[in-house]
């Protein structure tokens, strides 16, 4: 498969109270077109920063990052954020239409796309509601619909379900899986949830504690389309879970490395 995202020797330092803190140091990663890659790692390992760099919301300090752009009029990438990010001042339909309108799409196409994605995310009933009238899960559906409706080549998701209760989270994972299987976009998915990573991804990147780096990459061999429940009964699921858990445990227990530069 063609390489979609190529990252080589990525380094990111932050200025924190006048000191340079190395958030990511020498990270290499390449993601194929249409691949679903999850990134797990201890808190502060720079996994969110990695997504923000790819999204163009932050610049890396050094290293090489390239994204292969298909010759289409699709936007390059959109991000789904962990926190409530649907605009509170727009109703659900206007939120979902946002990306399309910002790209100057004609209103007829906007209306069609909005109708389709409201339906696909179960939001049709709430089209004219404002986000404050919705539950946490529904609000996150708005953000997901907004990103999918914009139809980018790459989706970046930063712990999109972290703030949801366990039950809602499972339902949303199922729905996301369904949406993804229809579109097969390239996805980079940051999460703390190992089950989530195992359920959704083709590959799982385990990051080391700060300064962040790739500690291991594991293939998730389960066939698609996946059944979230049946998956958990597979012996390989438990093995992989234990293996990732062991890798993360080492990182969490590792004493923090103080780095001057």
């Amino acid at each position: 498969m063609a390489t979609k995202v190529k990252i080589e020797g990525l380094r990111k330092t932050f200025l924190l109270k006048g000191e340079h803190v190395v958030a990511i140091d020498g990270l290499d990663l390449s993601v194929s077109d249409g691949e679903f890659v999850s990134i797990v790692g201890p808190s502060g390992c720079g996994k969110s920063t990695l997504l923000r760099i790819l999204a163009g919301l932050e610049r890396h300090t050094s290293g090489h990052v390239s994204i292969h752009r298909a010759d289409t009029d699709h936007p390059m990438l959109n991000m789904i954020f962990q926190e409530q990010s649907a605009f509170p001042w727009m109703n659900v339909a206007d939120n979902v239409a946002y990306g399309l309108r910002m790209r100057g799409t004609d209103e007829r196409t906007v209306a069609e796309q909005v109708r389709y994605w409201l339906d696909a995310t179960g939001l049709t009933r709430f089209a004219t509601a404002y986000p404050y009238q919705l539950s946490g899960g529904m609000k996150q559906r708005v953000s997901i619909a907004r990103a999918f409706a914009n139809d980018p080549e790459i989706l970046l998701m930063d712990e999109p379900f972290a703030a949801l209760d366990a039950l809602t989270k499972t339902v949303m994972q199922d729905e996301l899986l369904g949406l993804w299987e229809k579109t097969r976009k390239t996805v980079l998915y940051v999460t703390h949830g190992l089950e989530e990573a195992l359920t959704l991804s083709d590959r799982i990147v385990v990051m080391s504690a700060r300064p962040g780096n790739v500690k291991a990459i594991l293939d998730v061999p389960f066939a698609r389309p996946r059944d979230t429940l049946a998956l958990k009964a597979e012996p390989r699921y438990g093995e992989l879970y234990a293996q990732i858990w062991q890798l993360l445990r080492e990182e969490v227990l590792k004493p923090e490395v103080k780095d001057a530069h």
Binding site: A55, G56, L57, P75, L77, N78, M79, F81, E83, Q84, S85, F87, P88, W89, M90, Y98, G99, M102, R103, Y130, P131, Y132, R146, N150
Partner: protein
Amino acid sequence: MRTEKASGTVVVLRPEPPAPPVSMSTTGPLYIASPILLLAIWELVAALGWIDVRFFPPPSAVAVTFWTEIKNGAWFYHVGATLGRVLFGFIVGSILGIALGVLMGLMPFVRLAFYPLIAAIYPIPKIAIFPLILLIMGIGEASKLVTIAASCFFFLAVSAMTGVLNIPRVYLDVGRNFEASRLNFIRTVAIPAALPVIFSGLRLALGAAFLIVVSIEFIGAQQGIGWLIWHSWELFSIRLMFVGLLTVSFLGLLFMLILDWLEKYLVPWRL
């Protein structure tokens, strides 16, 4: 098995019947009861001679004067003059203030360049610069309008800037991530997100606009409610003075209600 005699007391929690819905029909009477009661007491103590009616004419007497002023058209003449000044100054000053405030909130260099100036001029009562404006612009309507607009301008510049600076980062990120152009970003993110804070600025500015317009009309006008109040002092017509005071209070209330309605219409959302 041995049964022990229970010690202590039983606490029974009282149930609460469902409350009737709160509506205008239940709160409405309460809303107007206190002003009416106050007027009634005033009328009564004036009739009993407990207060000096030369300074506190009874509401009925004020009402008679009010009616005379309305009938002979003088009231409309003065209200028209004051309203025109307040509306023009408030609208122009607020729009300019919002424009600069939003830019200050979004662009650090604009903020750095203007903030010290704004912070230094903001606390000066704008009535204090009226003589200076009079010197520059002469005794005409323009100097009055500029003074009122200036006082509104600073309230809105500060509140719009604060509103924009307090927008949660994630909404700014969404705007950038969906590649909103600068103008679209201001239109779809910065202004709507700052609108609740802008509205509190508008309320402050409105109060200031009335304060300034009455003060200006005291000293530098031949018409307007402020002039009416000042003139009635010169004539020692306390009733007329109360007509002026009531009119200012009524206009202020009316404008606040209009702002409330406008806010409900423009900010139908909550966080």
